[in-house]
């Protein structure tokens, strides 16, 4: 009799498990999942790199490099908290595991250090080369299929943006550089750079 109750219970009970590929788990809103970058907003202030507990973010303002070693990330969310411009956000999308060390790289509008103010044409050339190299890496990684759908789209956008920027860069960047001495306000350096650039072009 005792058993019968259990057996009936078990037969009429719902599944305890999910029929996984068919039935996906809905993750809660507060979940610290996959990152979403709006890298255009980045001002290369380095806050995220300084506060990251594992120190996996590497930023080089001079060449406009924003790089994260994906495997070392703890998904603690500190970088999201400290970013003053809100360009890092965490979505509630499941983050699949990766199997080998990968880098997530973005090209951001460079913000040269005060020393490099007088940077002439050569400097710009160098930047161009670096940007190209970075972009190659991103494409390589994408080709290897290391970053699945969502992140890829984010990155692709970034790459496209970078592409567009690169095409525009030779025209824009030189004047931007020259005008840096006037507009080196840390908060809006990138914007100021653009404005300065267009002003010069006129």
């Amino acid at each position: 009799m005792f058993m019968a109750k259990t057996i009936i219970n078990n037969l009429l009970h719902k599944y305890s498990t999910r029929l996984h590929p068919v039935e996906q788990r809905i993750l809660p809103d507060g979940f610290r999942g996959r990152f979403k970058f709006v890298i255009d907003k980045c001002i290369l202030c380095k806050q995220c790199a300084i506060k990251c507990p594992t120190q996996v973010i590497h930023i080089d303002p001079e060449v406009g490099l924003w790089e994260r070693q994906v495997m070392g990330c703890l998904y603690c969310g500190v970088c999201e908290d400290v970013c003053p411009t809100g360009c890092i956000t965490m979505t509630n999308v499941y983050r699949p595991p990766i199997t080998e060390p990968a880098f997530l790289r973005f090209n951001v509008k460079p913000r040269p250090a005060k020393k490099a103010k007088s940077g002439a044409g050569a400097d710009v050339q160098e930047n161009g080369a670096v940007l190209e190299a970075i972009e190659e890496k991103v494409l390589e990684r994408d080709a290897a299929g290391l970053s699945p759908s969502k992140m890829k789209t984010v990155e692709e956008q970034a790459v496209q943006k970078a592409d567009a920027e690169k095409q525009a860069a030779p025209a824009k960047e030189t004047p931007a550089k020259k005008s840096m001495s006037v507009t080196l306000k840390p908060k809006s350096a990138a914007d100021a750079g653009k404005k300065g650039g267009s002003a010069k072009k006129k």
């Binding site: 305890s16 610290r32 507990p53 603690c76």
Partner: protein
Amino acid sequence: MTRSIIPFGPQHPVLPEPLHLKLALEDETVVEAVPALGYVHRGLEGLATRRDYSQMVYVVERVCGICSCIHAMCYCNCIEKLMSIEVPRRAQFLRVIWSELHRAHSHLLWLGLFADSFGFESLFMALWRVRERVMDINEATAGNRVIVSTNIIGGVRRDLSREQMNSILKDIAIMEKELKNLYDTMMNDYSVKKRTVGKGVLSKEQAHALGAAGPTLRGSGWAQDARQLAYEAFDELNFAPVVETDGDCYSRTKVRFREVFQSFDLVRQAIGKIPEGELAAKVKGNPEGEITFRVEQPRGELFYYVRCDGSNFPERVRIRTPTFANIPPLLAILPGAQLADVPVITLTIDPCISCTER
């Protein structure tokens, strides 16, 4: 009689973590056990001196994979005491809520593993199914299942809304009902009793002399719980340490099972009494001086010693974890046991080797 040496662990089906014991046997009876540690040493205490205070919170969380929140809470308390930061009352209550949820899921994990260790697989799954609900609460409220990362120096990072608290209360009610059922099954089952009653007895005097901690100590009749020190919001919450007097595997299991209910009760009380207010106090400057702090982890009393010299990094962080305290009692109760009972007895101290070796 000739003795034979049998290695137990570091890879053993019942052990979630690499504990190695050399067992000297006469026939099937253990006469001596010699532990060997050091398989998961990660040098976190050394790393502590190379990370600044706010980063370190996320590092100490990884000392233990199960009670992460409580490690962070202890560390934050050390730094807050050194810098005389007044933590907002609401933050203290939130810390209690998350830490008690951690205790509940840690004990449920252990109970499941324990059931598995004597071959009661369906009980193991039933217990972990309940545990899953706690994990879901953590995920929805803190953003992650185990490593919640909610503590920061000066307070907490996340708030609980009224709806979230209500859903926690609802979940707790369901879990209590499910667990009541499982409690009766586990504690009255013939085969469970056969494997646990009278096995690995740690007497009251021994427990005290060998410095046992947590449920191992309370299972031997000592009503000692670091939460009685009334850190965080425990001064406003009513609870009495769970005590059993037999000192055998059955008592220790019972203590842990009853503590799950106690944790749920504490969460309910905390949600009932939580005041409105700020989440975190402002933190400025660097701490200076040295301090010790104790909190109750699921496995027992956790102890932090932090020394700072006013620079950006701590000078020394020393972590003493409860499993470290519970290994001498384990070595004392193993002699005389049958080889087949060794896994069961070893598990009853709830060994967390990552904690022990840091």
